[in-house]
């Protein structure tokens, strides 16, 4: 199918209806982020009702516009990426050339007209774009700025780039993660990103809350590394008490047995026996002969290797879902090691309407996850992510008061665009 460009179809405003009472209804966020951490933060803000205006360089698109495009031969592949849609739904999009004076002017004016400006560049990049905090704050003291560097803007690490795995390693979480007695292990997803996204969203909310009380915007720097350290703070404390945790694989320091075991259908089942009573029920279920030394957790810890073998022998005879069902019925904590493909028919997620069906011009009906902060019935409707530059005209006219002639001139001069400039993909 041939897709019309955004300017041909016109804008498709994605904001909440007037009168909504989601927490951030009426709050405008200027989103200068790309890839995952930043877009995840602003996705959460959009879920809470904010009007999020994403700014992309028309010659330097969000990289995720190129990831997860089902049909590589589709026209405008940059508007067809699953990754981009999942983390940029419900946003507006303006694409401009920030190297031009007119582009810089638009950026600054949008920042002044916003409640929050958020970026995940390396430190100092945003200043080079003309958006220094001092200048912005002097002209509108109600605006807040959130930056989300991998590390910090402090000397010694301000020029250090970092992706999710870099940040994980520098936070200490990699040191503690690993198979029993083996080397540290990288986490699976780029874990620093979603954590930073959550922290960035919380920081943005704090700025709004603080402004409700003081009338003033503030600047906040969310260090991705520092936030991850906060998630293992108890281990940092334990190390100072001389009790640094050891890498334990899937085991638990107290409960036993605990582990991940294979099933007949080549899945994995995670289970934890959390009490002696649960052990009795589990042993009966799994056909493990009762023994006095296994009656208490300490004894089961000592025999963990032996128990692992027995449990694996039992689980290997069952389908994964069936094993989980039996374990839960016996009061034993259990779950399939799920991946995203399982969520389409996961009974809990289906009941909670985890996935919304969203229309898309060329992808058809698309599934996107729904907001994870559920404010009773006041859920925000989920819309697809914006096309590149889809809201150029709408934003320039509605927010900055540009005329049609001015917008046309900007388009003619290549300041704004709704298709990649300079061969960007």
């Amino acid at each position: 199918m041939t897709m019309p460009t955004a300017s041909q179809v016109g804008t498709a405003p994605t904001g909440p209806a007037l009168g909504d009472t989601l927490p951030l209804t009426g709050i405008r966020v200027l989103d200068l982020t790309m890839v995952w951490a930043g877009p995840f933060a602003t996705k959460l803000l959009a879920d809470l009702g904010a009007e999020v205006i994403k700014v992309e360089g028309a010659g330097r698109l969000d990289l995720t516009r190129g990831l997860g495009v089902p049909d590589p031969d589709v026209e405008q592949p940059w508007n067809n990426a699953r990754y981009f849609n999942e983390f940029n739904r419900n946003k507006y999009d303006i694409a401009l050339d920030p190297r031009t004076e007119a582009g810089k002017r638009i950026l600054f004016d949008l920042a002044l007209a916003s409640d929050i400006v958020i970026d995940n560049f390396r430190p100092h990049v945003v200043e080079r774009m003309g958006l220094s905090w001092d200048r912005l704050h002097a002209e509108n003291s109600r605006v807040s700025m959130i930056s989300m560097p991998a590390y910090s803007s402090h000397a010694g690490e301000d020029k250090l780039p970092g992706y999710g795995p870099n940040v994980e390693e520098m936070s200490g979480i990699t040191h503690f993660t690993g198979y029993l007695g083996e080397a540290p292990h990288k986490l699976g997803i780029s874990y620093g990103d979603p954590v930073a996204g959550l922290g960035g969203a919380a920081a943005a909310l704090l700025t709004i809350w603080n402004r409700e009380r003081t009338g003033e915007g503030i600047r906040m720097e969310v260090s991705q590394r520092n936030l991850l350290i906060s998630l293992i703070g108890e281990a940092i404390v334990a190390a100072q008490l001389g009790r640094e945790p050891q890498r334990m694989g899937n085991r638990h320091p107290l409960h036993a047995p605990q582990g991940v075991y294979p099933t007949r259908d080549e899945r994995w089942v995670a289970l934890t026996v959390q009490s002696d009573d649960a052990w009795s029920r589990f042993a009966q279920l799994a056909g493990i002969t009762p023994r006095a030394d296994l009656g208490a957790a300490v004894g089961r810890q000592s025999a963990h290797d032996e128990l692992d073998e027995a449990i694996a022998a039992w689980s290997s005879q069952l389908e994964g879902a069936h094993a989980v069902e039996k374990l839960r019925a016996a009061g034993v904590a259990a779950s399939l090691v799920a991946d995203a493909r399982d969520f389409l028919d996961d009974p809990v997620l289906v009941e909670r309407r985890f996935l919304a069906e969203v229309p898309h011009e060329s992808l058809g009906t698309m599934k996107i996850s729904t907001p994870s902060w559920r404010f009773e019935e006041s859920q925000r409707e989920v819309h697809r992510a914006p096309f590149l530059g889809e809201h150029n005209e709408d934003v320039l006219r509605r927010v900055l008061g540009y005329s049609s002639e001015q917008i046309e001139q900007l388009r003619a001069e290549g300041v704004i665009a709704d298709a990649p400039l300079g061969g960007a993909k």
């Binding site: 020029k159 390693e169 954590v195 809350w209 703070g233 404390v237 289970l271 934890t272 904590a333 909670r352």
Partner: protein, 343 residues
């Protein structure tokens, strides 16, 4: 900022639960000045010493009936199901009537088909989709250290509490009730894998569960150095600083050759280069060239780091025998006050 500097001064939070999702969230809220009261002292006893020092440093305990404290509070944060809260006298209806915000964080939702399923740190992590990506190919999936399912949920709780307070301030809605599921929190954060799999598309190999443990390929791997492990995580925009740092700018000629960039040949080259270096030397090079390198930090590295200290992360609490213990403090660096010391 406010006169005291605490953004949440004057906000009272009753904590009813012992999960990390609750405890870590209320640690942040207390640090930012909220009065956090532990609703059930037995919950505090469920923690070990390190957890108590970290999570409970700035909290008080409810005095008198829980119901009265909860109804008088601005916010109740809980990991109990609707049924359990109702049994304790603080069910949704009574707290809605008292105009109390309720943020519930449970493994599978506060009500519904999974509300009563038994769950643990491991099984919650397994249920959310992130564990499937962690571990070595051919081996069992691996959990991340530190109950990361609930850790992410804790950040959701912090956001939800502040959002509900904003909603009350801006729209006069005092009884917001937010239902957070640990499974769903993780399921909504699955990088490319989520959006692709939700729609039945083919998932690229690099994003399949457990693609290749700690070493995806030469430019996305951990390497042994003289005193530990370091990380090289290089994308296309980083190839110039990477090859320059490596001392092989000539290899930029192969910047478009993905087969070479992900080859064992390059991995061996990088490995030989890194092996004699210390972590500190490696990071000096990272800073000099602006390359996305890192090292596997241990607690002592973080606690002794002048740079980490300069960001204002640490706060001190009093440990055994009056010893000062460093704990992570604010979620971000800002003019907002974050303090765990209480009279």
């Amino acid at each position: 900022v406010t006169e005291s500097g605490f953004p949440l001064e004057g906000v009272t939070v009753v904590e009813f639960g012992s999960s990390k999702a609750v405890k870590l969230a209320t640690h942040f809220l207390a640090g930012y000045g909220a009065t956090v009261l532990i609703g059930d002292p037995a919950d505090a006893e469920a923690l070990d010493e390190a957890q108590r020092l970290y999570f409970d440093a700035a909290k008080g305990v409810v005095e008198g009936p829980l119901v009265e404290s909860a109804e008088a509070a601005d916010v109740v944060v809980t990991d109990r199901t609707v049924a359990a809260r109702t049994e304790a006298g603080i069910g949704p209806e009574s707290l809605a009537a008292s105009g109390t915000i309720v943020v519930a964080v449970t493994p599978y939702g506060e009500a519904g088909v999974g509300a009563d399923w038994p769950a643990s740190e491991l099984t919650q992590f397994a249920s959310g989709g992130q564990m499937a990506s962690l571990g070595d190919r051919g081996r069992e999936p691996l959990q991340a250290y530190g109950n990361q399912g609930e850790s992410q949920a804790a950040l959701h709780v912090v956001g939800a509490v502040i959002a509900a307070l904003i909603r009350r301030a801006r729209f006069g809605i005092a009884d917001s009730a937010v239902d957070i599921s640990v499974q769903e929190v993780q399921a909504s954060a699955l990088e490319l894998f989520g959006g692709v799999a939700f729609n039945g598309d083919t998932v690229p190999d690099a994003f399949m569960p457990r693609p290749n443990g700690s070493a995806l390929h030469a430019l996305w791997a951990m390497y042994e150095c003289a005193d530990g492990l370091v990380g090289v995580h290089v994308n296309t925009p980083n190839l110039v600083p990477f090859f320059t740092a490596l001392g092989r700018p000539d290899l930029l000629e192969k910047a478009g050759d993905m087969e070479f960039l992900q080859s064992d040949e390059l991995r061996e080259l990088v490995s030989e280069w890194i092996r004699p270096m210390t972590k500190a030397q490696f990071m000096e090079i990272a800073s000099e060239y602006g390359a996305p390198f890192s090292y596997v930090a241990e607690p002592v590295d973080l606690l002794d780091s002048e740079i980490v200290a300069s960001t204002g992360l640490w706060r001190e609490v009093t440990g055994p025998d009056g010893v000062a213990i460093k704990v992570p403090g604010p979620m971000s660096e800002s003019p907002l006050r974050f303090d765990l010391a209480r009279p």
